[in-house]
């Protein structure tokens, strides 16, 4: 990744991601925090593109910027208006201290470690390889995961079924 466009793209995306993540922490209204969180998710998707992980980027946009943020928005909208403030609890200062220490430690470990850097090729597509691996070599775990998701979905429907429906039967 040597050309100027990729470098500029990385820095712009990194600033967008970290800046909107900070806005999530600073926003007083939960709706504003969710909007900043969506921007942060999209920034991470852009960072995946600069890592030549195209399938991961599309999945990030679909799952995180689409499904997870809609889930959080529903959770906010369907709760009473009183619960919409994004205030800090009494743990604010210890949490800030711990977060700074953890981020500093991870960053220092990342900078100090002598990584075994591989010579990497150009931009290659990964989606077809992932699809082939899922449906050829790893087809059994794939099917088990889909059955598990189906069981979770049916279980959720059964759990939230109103009591009157079972009385009528």
């Amino acid at each position: 990744m040597e050309d100027a466009g990729s470098i500029a793209a990385f820095w712009v995306l990194a600033v967008i991601t970290v800046g909107s993540a900070l806005m999530v922490a600073a926003a007083r209204n939960l709706i504003h925090a969710v909007v900043a969180l969506i921007v942060s998710f999209l920034g991470v998707a852009g960072l995946y593109v600069t890592l030549s992980a195209d399938f991961l980027a599309v999945t990030q946009v679909l799952i995180y910027a689409g499904a997870v943020s809609v889930l959080i928005l529903f959770a906010i909208v369907l709760t009473p208006t009183a619960a919409r403030d994004n205030a800090d609890s009494f743990l604010r200062l210890p949490a800030l201290l711990l977060a700074v220490v953890v981020a500093f430690t991870i960053g220092l470990a990342a900078l100090e470690t002598d990584w075994r850097i591989a010579d990497r090729g150009g931009f290659e597509e990964t989606a077809s390889a992932i699809g082939e691996a899922l449906l050829d070599k790893y087809v059994l775990p794939f099917e088990i995961a889909s059955v598990l998701l189906l069981a979770a979905m049916i279980g959720a429907i059964v759990l939230v079924r109103p009591e009157s429906a079972s009385v009528e039967e």
Partner: protein
Amino acid sequence: MSVDLEHYLVVGAVLFGIGLYLALAKRNFVGVLMGIEMMFNAANLTFAAFSRFVESEMRRWRDRCSWCS
């Protein structure tokens, strides 16, 4: 000047720290959930960066091993 593995790891570490702060310090549970999702994102970003930049140990073993498919 180029973008290396360490740049991505530092971005992931900062994102993880912000997510940890959100998960610990927010009073509303939805805020805690947002922090947890942000930490997931940071971990995924570091995984993708490692997969892109670091030499695969498993691939070296597979090349050395003669009988595995």
